[in-house]
C-alpha cells in the first residue's frame, strides 16, 4: 500500500481521471472529495461489501420453489390476517 501525507486542500491524482481531495479533517473523521468519471462507481466500502454479502446470501438460499411458496404464504397471511 502506498502511504501519502496530504494537507487540507491537497489532492491525490489516480490515473488520468480520478482525483481525491482532502476537504477537511478532525475528531477522527476525514472528509474527502472524490472526482471520477461516471462509469467509475464510487462508494463507501462497507456499502459495497454489504451488497456482495446480500447477493451471496440471496443466491445461496435460492430457494427451491417450495421455499418461495412458503414465503409467499406468509406474505399472504400478513396481508390478509383474517384468512
Amino acid at each position: 500500500m502506498l502511504l501519502l501525507s496530504r494537507k487540507k486542500g491537497e489532492v491525490i491524482q489516480i490515473g488520468k481521471n480520478v482525483s481525491i481531495e482532502i476537504i477537511d479533517f478532525g475528531r477522527g473523521v476525514v472528509q474527502v472529495g472524490v472526482t471520477a468519471p461516471k462509469n467509475i462507481p464510487v462508494h463507501r466500502k462497507e456499502v459495497f461489501d454489504a451488497i456482495v454479502e446480500q447477493n451471496k446470501q440471496a443466491s445461496a438460499t435460492t430457494a427451491t420453489i417450495s421455499d418461495i411458496k412458503k414465503a409467499l404464504s406468509s406474505v399472504a397471511k400478513l396481508t390478509n390476517p383474517k384468512e
Binding site: I51, I65, V75, L78
Partner: protein, 141 residues
C-alpha cells in the same frame, strides 16, 4: 470476464433440468453481479408458481439464481433517481428469503437494471442514502 453469448446454448440446472436458451433471452452483464463479477450472462425466469418473484439465472453457472422482485411492489413510491429510464429499463430488487433472522429482505440500494432492447443488465449502487440493502419485506411465519 465471460463474453456475451450470441448463439443458442444448452444449460443444465438442478432446478429445471436441461434447457436450451436463445441468445435473444440472454442479458449481458458486463460487470456481472456484485461479488459475482465472473458471471456475465443471465436469463430472467418467470414462473407462475412464484409470482410475484422472478429469478435471474446465471447461464455460466445455472445453479446460481438470484430471486428478484419489483421494488415498487415493496415500496410503491420507490424512486431510483435520475439516470434510470423507466420506460426502457426494468428494475428489480434482489431478494434474500432467509437473512438468518427469519426475515425476507430485498436490496433496494442496488437494484438490478435490465434494458430489454439492448439485452444489457447491471446491478447499480444508488448513490443516495435512503434505501437499504436489507429492506425487510415481511416476517416469516
Amino acid at each position: 470476464m465471460a463474453n456475451r453469448i450470441t448463439t443458442p446454448v444448452t444449460i443444465n440446472s438442478s432446478q429445471f433440468g436441461e434447457v436450451e436458451l436463445q441468445p435473444d433471452n440472454i442479458f449481458y452483464f458486463e460487470n456481472g453481479m456484485l461479488g459475482f463479477e465472473n458471471l456475465n450472462n443471465f436469463v430472467l425466469i418467470s414462473d407462475d408458481d412464484i409470482v410475484p418473484f422472478k429469478w435471474l439465472m446465471s447461464v455460466e453457472e445455472p445453479d446460481i439464481m438470484f430471486p428478484l422482485i419489483s421494488p415498487w411492489l415493496v415500496l410503491p413510491d420507490y424512486d431510483p433517481g435520475k439516470g434510470i429510464d423507466i420506460d426502457k429499463q426494468v428494475l428489480f430488487a434482489v431478494v434474500t428469503f432467509n437473512d438468518g433472522k427469519g426475515h425476507i429482505t430485498c436490496n433496494l440500494k442496488a437494484p438490478v437494471i435490465l434494458s430489454s432492447l439492448e439485452l444489457l443488465g447491471e446491478q447499480r449502487i444508488l448513490s443516495f442514502e435512503r434505501y437499504h440493502v436489507d429492506h425487510i419485506i415481511n416476517k416469516l411465519a
